[in-house]
Amino acid sequence: MTEQTGRGTHTQTAFTRRRFLAASGAIALGSLLAACGGTEDAATATAKPAGTTATTANAPAATSAPAGATASTSGTTQTQPAMAATTGKPIKGTELTVLWMPPSIQAAADIQEKNMDEWAKAAGVKLTKDTVALDQWDAKLATNAQTKQGADLVSMYAQHVATNENVMMDISDLSGTIGTQVGGWYDGPKTVSIRANNQWKALPAAIYGQYWIYRQDLFQQAGVMNWPETWEDLHQAGKKLKAAGTPIGHTLGHAVTDGATHNYSLMWSYGAKEFEADGKTLALNSKEMMDCLTFFQQHYKDSLAENAFAWDETGNNNAYNSGQVAATNNANTIYAGLVKNDPGLAMKSSHGTTLKGPGGAFQYMSMQFWGIPTYAKNVDAAKAYLTEAFYTKDFQTAWTKAGNGYNLPPFAMLESVDAAWPTDTKLASARTLAKTTRVPGSPGPYTSVVGAAQNKFIIIDTFAKVAQGTSPKDAIAFAMNEYTTLLKGQ
């Protein structure tokens, strides 16, 4: 029976690949596209073009596979010139199912829904939007993958891209054409999209901006006139704020997003990292990590909210909304909610910039992606939707505007488009925020071990342990041991 399952997978992939080749072989635009400077597709093949904002983040794709394999696979990718729209088979009258993750901001969700519906009507496609709660996304995708049935186009977080890479089609072709269309992808999300053998398994759809929201009134009462620039400044400000009964909110509970927002960002700002650039050599046992945890132990004692151990994703929202903390890092959902429900508190609040540490200023942000699963039945329509509707300048402008700093575009196209950005000056940083995104595993790739470590809350627990009184040395030993276990389980 198991054998049968295996064979099933095989046939399925073989089938889609054949169809894929047939679809893309029709035109020979490939070389032309590759020649375009902005095409990241070309970039991944051998070396990075000088024009892109090159960081080490790009390295993993090149190192994750033997050189020969990389070259040959990306070679084929290159000659596949993309656009499924030209298969000749009309998509009119077909059915397209989308497993869609609506943004938390209602206006953004509405406009995206409209975008899908209008495109579907114009293209004559019967489009079904399916969704489940975010918490159940993993279960849904896993079952779809194992039964080889499900939506033709799926929304995914970075974690889902990593866990589902084996059942996602290589859409390097799309990443090239659309990448040009949107003015080039940002590096953070690109590290997630590009999987083994330099294949693009997902297209970045949105970066959820993470802001430091803080109470201007309370900071001023404590004698702190401006938002602190560094973690150490926050620590000093926090001392006074905690003494006044309103500490800083720093999530230490088992919350995938908010926990990472606070703790990974702090870790990176000290120059600490989980892995070296190869993605295999553990790098947690470092002086940087030691310094970071030593700082944090004091920071927690002096300036942080002590009930944060129990915070889930809503924990810091509730703490801020109810006036118990003076600052916390979150998506703009806190601010958006306050503008609606508690304008007084919204008035007293503002957003600060990403905090710097000895190693720089980095911010963890959740990211959303589009992927076309190997079990998709209507690949052409899925591709057509992305090209013709989702990644158009008009829609992206309207969508970004509706999100009001929530969903930020993972590409450069809108940087110069004023109409896309919030008019509220308190959200002005939205325009540049997405570029500071960093992805777990940095500077190495976002591997499945990195994803598993995130799901097991290892980094968060390392910080939480230190806050509970464990010595930084023991906390590092704990983390190293857990990462080693994950590596051995590969």
């Binding site: 088992h254 509730n318 799901n455 097991k456 041991n481 276990t485 389980g489």
Partner: protein, 311 residues
């Protein structure tokens, strides 16, 4: 007698009809026919997937990737993980404590509900509510009551001047485990109570009458009559409670996600986070299966016990 008629049937085929009748009359035949639907259902829909899961636990399978066979590596590998060891310990502790409390409270509840009192009908309906409401939703109500920022229980306790400072419901490792156990007991006790109550109903009143005539007191009657007679049911619900607690993911997942620092992490949540959520199906299966031998021993003991009771 059955045996002889069977042999007779083989000797004389012309008596086929009567032999069929006899064959049908045999315990064994009737038994097989009666268990057939259950067996077919479970073999097709559970045994096969289960076998597949056991296979998975011995491979490096991930989503869309059958992986390679690694023997017991996934199991031994977990032993190195502090999180796993904690989760294992927590699972045992959580299961044992809640089961004992639920059994005692459930039995007491059944005895209580067996009394005559005004409003009994209402109480019996109300009592089942915790168990009827989908745990996904009722756990959310608890989360909201125990929330680290907005706990209304804390509000109440402070305003009644029972406490000065907020209680660290889900923030402190020990309190968090206590809260999770309390919610589990809250949710699980009503069903145990009602099940045991049903068992109490089947005890013939004559037994009590006879015992009372012999001068047996309340306690003696409880100990000598009630307890032995409800014991088969009690052991079944105990096993069910153990299995249910062991594999229930909702309460822990919603209240703490296994935190703070894995102090409430149990195997079910760990297998979900480290296995399914991370796409590492093999690892996840191994974590889930870790308790299996313990459970199996329990069930074997249970089978033996019920068999003995039956004789």
């Amino acid at each position: 007698m059955q045996l002889s008629s069977h042999i007779a049937g083989e000797d004389k085929p012309q008596k086929q009809r009567i032999d069929w009748h006899h064959l049908w009359g045999r315990d064994a035949t009737q038994g097989y026919v009666m268990i057939a639907p259950a067996v077919i259902l479970l073999v097709v829909l559970v045994a096969y997937p289960f076998a597949l899961s056991i296979w998975l636990s011995m491979t490096t399978a991930s989503i869309g990737n059958p992986g390679r066979f690694v023997g017991l590596n996934n199991f031994t590998n977990q032993l190195n993980s502090e999180i796993f060891r904690l989760a294992f310990r927590n699972t045992v502790w959580y299961t044992v404590v809640t089961t004992v409390i639920k059994l005692v409270l459930g039995f007491a509840l059944a005895l209580l509900l067996n009394q005559q009192f005004i409003g009994r009908k209402f109480v019996r309906a109300a009592i089942l509510l915790p168990w009827i409401v989908p745990s996904v939703l009722s756990t959310m109500a608890w989360l909201w009551l125990l929330d680290s920022n907005l706990s209304s229980l804390n509000w109440l306790l402070r305003h009644l001047h029972i406490v000065e400072k907020n209680l660290p419901w889900l923030t402190d490792p020990n309190w968090a485990m206590g809260c999770i156990m309390a919610v589990n007991v809250w949710r699980g006790t009503p069903f145990l109570g009602i099940t045991i109550l049903a068992a109490l109903q089947t005890i013939p009143a004559e037994l009590y009458e006879a015992a009372a005539l012999d001068g047996a007191g309340r306690i003696t009657r409880l100990w000598r009559i009630t307890l032995p007679l409800v014991l088969p049911v009690l052991t079944v619900v105990m096993i069910v409670s153990i299995i249910g607690t062991f594999s229930d993911i909702q309460i822990v997942y919603a209240l703490t996600g296994g935190g703070p620092t894995n102090s409430t992490q149990v195997l079910a949540t760990l297998s979900y986070q480290a296995g399914l959520r991370s796409g590492m199906l093999g690892q996840g299966a191994a974590i889930s299966l870790y308790m299996f031998p313990v459970m199996l021993l329990l069930v074997i003991w249970q089978v033996w016990h019920v068999r003995r009771q039956g004789k």
